[in-house]
């Protein structure tokens, strides 16, 4: 335990994901030894993030305006919609530079054991987006694990009466992992070889 200000900083850092008490202490002392201007820039970036970043009202991606850059980009194909669990999954799919459609962020996966059902995700918003018939293919790129599969099953069943082609990235994606950790080559192959979901 340290005194006052430094312990306060260690406590705050320790609340970040993946940072334990030791790591928090290391970061705090690193910052203490850093040029104050660099630290001020970091602090300013944190404050700017909380003040300027919000969630796109259309797709749920991170945005600096009402809508995100992808939703505002008229070159993106409005007929293909890719459904992902988290905004960071959009970054993973964007890295492969193959996908030219738009996204929809669910905000997680269905996990009844954690009390998370379809109503806790942005499923209703998805159905509303599909209602006008502009989307002809829905790619369900939820995580390649069991909860992701079950979430895809649920959405595919919901969308089926609408006659939209529903696919899921398949080949090459090892199951069990998080989408964000997939490398670009594997993920690219998975998108090319997406399979039709028939429920």
């Amino acid at each position: 335990m340290y005194e006052g200000v430094i312990q306060h900083l260690i406590d705050e850092l320790g609340r970040l994901p993946g940072v334990g008490p030791k790591g928090a202490q290391r970061i705090a002392f690193h910052l203490l030894a850093t040029d104050p201007d660099d630290v001020r820039r970091l602090a300013a970036a944190l404050i700017e993030m909380t003040e300027r970043v919000r969630f796109c009202k259309t797709c749920g991606n991170v945005a600096e305006a009402e809508q995100c850059r992808i939703c505002l980009d008229t070159r993106r194909d409005p007929a293909v919609l890719c459904v992902v669990e988290e905004p960071k999954d959009i970054a993973a799919v964007e890295k492969i530079r193959e996908f030219r459609g738009r996204y929809h962020v669910l905000g997680g996966a269905i996990s009844p054991i954690d009390g998370i059902g379809p109503d806790d995700l942005r499923v209703r918003e998805l159905m509303a987006r599909l209602a006008d018939g502009a989307v002809t293919e829905l790619i369900l790129a939820t995580d390649p694990n069991l909860e992701g599969e079950a979430t895809a099953t649920y959405i595919a069943r919901l969308v089926k009466p609408m006659g939209i082609r529903v696919t899921r990235p398949a080949s090459g994606l090892p199951v069990g992992g998080d989408l964000e950790y997939a490398d670009e080559v594997t993920l690219g192959r998975a998108f090319e070889g997406r399979r039709l979901l028939d429920v």
């Binding site: 069991l146 069990g176 992992g177």
Partner: protein
Amino acid sequence: MQGYRDDGVVLRTQKLGEADRIITLLTRHNGRVRAVARGVRRTKSRFGARLEPFTHVDVMVHNGRSLDVITQAEVIRAYGTPLAADYPKYTAGTAMLETAERFTPVEKEPAIRQFLLLVGGLRALGEAVGPGPDDLAGEPAGTPAGEAPRDPRMVLDAYFLRSLTFAGYAPALEECSRCGAKDKPLVAFAVAAGGMACADCRPSGSAAPAPQTVALMVALLRGDWDEAIRSERRHRVECSGLVAAYLQWHLEHSIRSLRHVERA
């Protein structure tokens, strides 16, 4: 390093740090166990999907300082794959896993009967016949000729009743739960009293289920599926409601997944 080998069903996984997970298993010999799987969330993890919920795995576990660590895992049977492709089965299966965890509150206390019951329940659920999409569109609810469907929700209710029995909470269904009378008509289902009650013992506010509903509960408790599948939907629904209330009262806990279980 000290360790052990066992087989068990993955009940739950929780993210830990950047790429690890804490895996909760219900094992054959060691009861409920929590152990870390390192790197399991990376898509190139050697564990792959072996440590996902519903999977029956053979594991090597090393005793760690704070948490045990899974060093090897081999799949015995992946019950999750067929479940994830069928939403009612998936939600019923999740409720099974959550219930198994609740019935084994003490870590590493052997619970072989709960383990065997869970494996049997998951197998039955995988083989349960939910109405396919075509059945939903075409035929009315009922039993198609030939194979009689086991409603996933009935498989779940049977699992609940039997796990209650193993825990010593079998509901009294064929005698009065209060006075023990077997010759009097049983008119009410009283959760707190422990099952059915006669008119003299009936606590106020207790439910009055249809006789067919009680007969269905008896059939599910005995595993008499020939009898159970002849039940009507309304009695199945009533049965599920009573079993859920009874289960959660005795567990002194709500089963969170239950709210999301869909009836096929």
